[in-house]
Each structure stands twice: as structure tokens, then as C-alpha cells.
């Protein structure tokens, strides 16, 4: 390399400095950008978390404390009175029992039927399959109100109104959303496996139970969680079909609480906390699967 002359050397140094400065400039900009992103996330998540925290906080307050401004987020003194009083005010234990029963039966019905139907649509060739699948997809978009009244009339004819049956029996006939979800999942599993099973002489149902089912367990889990959430949140169904207090589910029980003591916010919030708790617990254990299920179908939980 030849010796650089003085002016050339200077420009080189200057240019290097300039590059260094602009790099520094860019990294400062990036740091500011990152800071803004985290600030937005922090602000947003505070807003999204606040209702939960406020609900919990209120539920631990005495009636007087709920009227204090600014509100104490950690009330002094903490009291569990609301939970105890609220629990005993109405047959809360039986609300829980009924809701769990309905949810468990919904899970059983949905998982059994939807897996079978999804397998049929995903793996077996039969005449009219595509047309029937299009019909299934279109029923996903059908608003329930059109069938609500005739179903009520039908269920009342067979004397099921006033029982829990209308809330779970339909789930044994497959749920279009869950059939779609399972079918999408099945489509991602290579066919070669069940072809191999077929060559080995497995019947279709053997193939389903012993080859396909173990592979779709994650998706079945998602379906189970979603049907639990659906049954747990359902309000319109119990509102229409249940008649007596001892049959009420949590949603109806909460409605009773509201009508009997809607102004005692601490007690109302304690019951709301109890109603949401099972869902929140399940969410923390199964979040990953739920996200996967939502993504797979593009359907909101």
C-alpha cells in the first residue's frame, strides 16, 4: 500500500468519524424506538390487567372501603367476608356442581363426536364429501337465533325444558367449529401413517383409534378446553332452559346475585372472581395449546 498524502488521510479519518457518528445516531434512534415500544406495551398491559386487579381488590374490601377514593388497591384491612357471605347467600356449591357437570358432558360429547366426524372429512373419500363440508362450514356462520325458538319448542315438547339436557345433548352431535379445527389439524398429519395401517389390515375405526388419535391428542386437548370455556361462559342457554335455582349454572347464579344484592360491589366481585377462577387456572396451564388452536383455525377463543 502506498503512503497516503496528508489531505487524503484527513478525509478518510473524517469519513470514518462520520460513519461512526451516523451509526451511533442510528443506534440511539433504535434505542428510542425500543423504549417507545416497551412504554406502549407497559401502558397497554396495565390497562388490560387493571380490571382483573380491581375486581380482586374490591372483592377483599368491606362495603365502606369500596366507596373510598382514591381506591386502595391493597385494602387495609383485607377481609374474606365477602367470599364467605356470598358463598352462603345462594347455593353456590350447587351452581359449581351443575356447571362442572354440564362442562364435563360437553367436553365428552364434543370430543367423541367431533373427532369421529373430523376423521371422516379429513381421511375418507365418499360421495358428496365436499358439498357436505361446505354445508358444515356455512353452519359455522349461522346465527343461533334462527334455531333458538324452534329448538326451545322442540325441547319443551319432549319435556326437557327445566332440565340440564338441552345444554349438553347437542354437543354429542358434533360442533362445527371443533370439527373444522380437528380436520385442519388432521390435514397436517401425513397420510402415509394410516395408509400403512390399512395395508397391515387395520379397519378404519382401528386406524382412527390406534394410529390417528394418539397423533391428534394436542388438538383434542384444544377442543376440550374450548368446549369447557364455551359451556362455562354460556348464558343464553341456561337462561332459556333452566327453571329452578338448584339447577342453575354459575352464569345464572351470578345473575341471581346481581338481582338480590347488586349494590354490594365487594360481594358481587368476590362471586365474579370465583366464577372466573377455573377459567383463569386452565388458561395458565393450557395457554400454549389454546394459542395453537386459535391460530390453526383463525377462530377466536
Amino acid at each position: 500500500m502506498t503512503q497516503l498524502s496528508a489531505p487524503q488521510e484527513m478525509t478518510l479519518v473524517a469519513r470514518e468519524a462520520m460513519i461512526r457518528r451516523s451509526k451511533a445516531h442510528a443506534s440511539v434512534l433504535r434505542a428510542v424506538g425500543r423504549a417507545i415500544i416497551y412504554l406502549l406495551l407497559l401502558a397497554g398491559s396495565s390497562v388490560y390487567l387493571f380490571p382483573f386487579l380491581f375486581m380482586l381488590s374490591t372483592s377483599l374490601k368491606t362495603l365502606q372501603q369500596t366507596f373510598v377514593w382514591p381506591p386502595q388497591m391493597i385494602p387495609k384491612p383485607l377481609t374474606l367476608e365477602n367470599y364467605i357471605e356470598g358463598w352462603n347467600l345462594l347455593p353456590t356449591a350447587s351452581f359449581y356442581k351443575n356447571t362442572f357437570l354440564v362442562a364435563a358432558l360437553n367436553i365428552t360429547g364434543t370430543v367423541l363426536s367431533s373427532t369421529l366426524v373430523a376423521y371422516g372429512f379429513a381421511r375418507l373419500r365418499f360421495r358428496g364429501r365436499n358439498v357436505l363440508f361446505m354445508i358444515l362450514l356455512s353452519t359455522m356462520m349461522l346465527p343461533g337465533q334462527v334455531t333458538m325458538i324452534p329448538l326451545y319448542i322442540g325441547f319443551s315438547r319432549i319435556r326437557w325444558v327445566g332440565t340440564l339436557k338441552p345444554l349438553f345433548v347437542p354437543s354429542f352431535f358434533g360442533n362445527p367449529f371443533h370439527i373444522f379445527l380437528l380436520r385442519q389439524f388432521l390435514m397436517t398429519i401425513p397420510r402415509e401413517l394410516d395408509d400403512a395401517a390399512k395395508i397391515d389390515g387395520c379397519g378404519y375405526f382401528r386406524t382412527l383409534v390406534s394410529i390417528v388419535l394418539p397423533l391428534v391428542i394436542p388438538a383434542v386437548g384444544v377442543v376440550a378446553i374450548f368446549s369447557f370455556t364455551g359451556a362455562w361462559n354460556d348464558f343464553m342457554g341456561p337462561l332459556i332452559y333452566l327453571r329452578r335455582l338448584e339447577q342453575y349454572t354459575i352464569a345464572m347464579g351470578l345473575r341471581m346475585f346481581q338481582m338480590q344484592g347488586g349494590t354490594h360491589m365487594g360481594r358481587l366481585m368476590s362471586m365474579a372472581v370465583l366464577a372466573l377462577l377455573p377459567q383463569i387456572i386452565i388458561f395458565f396451564f393450557a395457554q400454549k395449546q389454546m394459542v395453537q388452536g386459535v391460530v390453526l383455525t383463525g377462530i377466536k377463543g
Partner: protein, 312 residues
């Protein structure tokens, strides 16, 4: 495949072919859904069509009234008009708002942030919990005297904060604000969509000198349109059926400001027992939902971009 073709011939003609066996197995598999479809969807829909031409309360003899229910509903029943207008307001304000909010959250989370799982959990959790408990919670949050929202507004100098669900003007905006708490589900879908956009697209655009906004406008947005389209359709259908919040929080009030179509159908059918009339209402609602769904579908050709379209 060859063995399948040979087997029936070898075994004699009274053995059903492999193909037929697969068909029978297929129908058996989908039988539960097929029965359910006939029993709980198609059958009731046909019955409901019939019912909507009758005056039926199941206490007295049903009377055929032809199109009278529909005529009265569309021309004379003012409350139905109010309910439809409220529901339309809710659907057409809340759903686009959800799309924008969910998209913004998803893009924030897509910036390679630390602790993604924690942020995602916080934003997704409210979408999972729904129903009566959440409605009760928001009654408390909106409480004009002791609720935190009005309290916070007073603290920052707004001396007369809205009465929210107790005010005719603010009740519907309040329910819309509340609904934005649940955008986490769409956010999850959008986030997955964003992660699916190939980085090479952005790199190529950067080399061509595209800035952040141009990259969003010409890469992110077009790539996300199928996802947005899907959530728009499902969101609109869901929003047109809004019920629980109105029923629990406002009973449709004040002065019918939050009366929704489904709430009015519920009242007519299950409190006043006008089953025929309520069926007609349900059909009108169904046709409206169908109309807007098809409209969104028809419009999709203009704005939804499907990958592989260019390859065709």
C-alpha cells in the same frame, strides 16, 4: 393400491369393494354431525320459517297470518327499528375498532420484544373470560360515583364525567369500550399472520429504500388481508348477535339506547311468548347478517390479497 383393486375380484362378487367400504365408513363417521345438522339446524330452520307466518304462543290455537308478522315488523314496530339501529352501530363501530386495535397490539408484539409470552398472556387473558362475570365487573368499572374510570377522569380535571351505562348517550359507547378489552383473540391470530410474512420481503423493500410506513402499506397490510378478512366476517356475525352485555348491564336501557336485536327477540319469544312473531324477527336478523356477510365477501376481491394469485 394394487392389492385393493385385486381383492374384490379374488374374493368373489358378494364382497363389497374397498371403495364402497371406504364410502360406508365415511358416512358412518360423519353420521353424528349429519344427524345433528338435521335435528338441530336444518329442521329447526324449516320449522322456524313456518312459524314466522303464524300467530303462535302455544297457549291458544295458532293462527295462520301470512306475511302479517313481517309487515308489522318492518312497517310498524318502532322498537325493532331502534334495536336494529343500535345493533348496527355496535357492529360497525366495534368490529373495525377491534381490527385496528388487535393489529396494533400484534405489531407491537412482533417487534422481537423480550418476554413475549408474558405480554401475550396479559393481552389474551381478557378474551378468554367472557359472560356474566365480566359484565358485572364492567358495571363496577363504569360506576359513576365510585368506579375507577369516572374517578380517574375526575382526577385529571374532568369534573363531570359521563354516566356511562346509566346515560342514554354514553351507554352504547361504554359497551363498545368494554368490548375492546376482548381483542386478544384476534391479536393472537394477527400475530401468527405477521410472523408468517417472510423476512426476505422486508429486506428486499429496505434495499429499495422503503421506509417503515411504506413497508407496512405495501407488505404487511396486503399479506395480512386474508386474516383481517376472516376476523372481520366472524366479528361482524358475532357482533350482530350481541346479547349478554345488554341483558346484564343495562337491560337494553336507558331509554332503549342499548336494546339489541337479539335482546328484543328474547323478550318477544321468552317473556311475551309471541313465538311466531319472534321467529319472523329472527329471520329478518338472519337475512340482515347474511346480507352484510355476503357484502364483505363480495368486496373481498377488491382488497383481499391471496398469495399464489399471481402465480395463477
Amino acid at each position: 393400491m394394487k392389492t385393493e383393486a385385486l381383492r374384490p375380484a379374488q374374493r368373489g362378487s358378494f364382497y363389497i369393494t374397498q371403495r364402497a367400504r371406504e364410502e360406508i365408513a365415511g358416512y358412518l363417521c360423519i353420521l353424528p354431525w349429519l344427524l345433528g345438522f338435521l335435528l338441530f339446524t336444518a329442521g329447526p330452520m324449516i320449522y322456524s320459517q313456518f312459524l314466522s307466518y303464524y300467530q303462535a304462543n302455544f297457549l291458544t290455537e295458532s293462527v295462520f297470518v301470512g306475511l302479517d308478522n313481517y309487515r308489522h315488523l318492518l312497517l310498524q314496530y318502532k322498537l325493532w327499528g331502534i334495536a336494529l339501529r343500535n345493533t348496527a352501530t355496535y357492529a360497525f363501530v366495534a368490529v373495525p375498532l377491534h381490527v385496528v386495535l388487535a393489529m396494533m397490539l400484534a405489531m407491537l408484539l412482533n417487534q422481537q420484544v423480550k418476554g413475549l409470552a408474558v405480554w401475550r398472556t396479559i393481552f389474551y387473558l381478557p378474551a378468554v373470560v367472557q359472560g356474566v362475570a365480566v359484565s358485572l365487573l364492567w358495571i363496577w368499572l363504569f360506576h359513576p360515583n365510585f368506579g375507577p374510570i369516572s374517578g380517574a377522569l375526575r382526577t385529571i380535571g374532568i369534573t363531570n364525567p359521563p354516566l356511562w351505562i346509566w346515560s342514554e348517550e354514553w351507554a352504547m359507547p361504554a359497551l363498545i369500550i368494554m368490548s375492546t378489552w376482548g381483542v386478544g383473540g384476534s391479536m393472537i391470530i394477527y400475530l401468527a399472520g405477521l410472523q408468517g410474512v417472510p423476512q426476505s420481503f422486508y429486506d428486499a423493500a429496505s434495499i429499495d429504500g422503503a421506509d417503515v410506513f411504506q413497508r407496512f402499506r405495501h407488505i404487511t397490510l396486503p399479506m395480512m388481508t386474508p386474516t383481517i378478512f376472516f376476523s372481520l366476517v366472524m366479528g361482524l356475525i358475532g357482533a350482530w348477535q350481541m346479547f349478554t352485555q345488554s341483558f346484564v348491564m343495562t337491560q337494553g336501557g336507558p331509554n332503549n339506547a342499548t336494546l339489541t336485536a337479539v335482546l328484543l327477540i328474547y323478550r318477544k319469544a321468552f317473556q311475551e311468548f309471541y313465538m311466531g312473531y319472534a321467529s319472523a324477527m329472527a329471520w329478518v336478523l338472519f337475512v340482515i347478517i347474511l346480507f352484510f356477510t355476503l357484502l364483505v365477501f363480495r368486496s373481498s376481491a377488491a382488497w383481499v390479497y391471496y398469495e399464489g394469485e399471481l402465480a395463477r
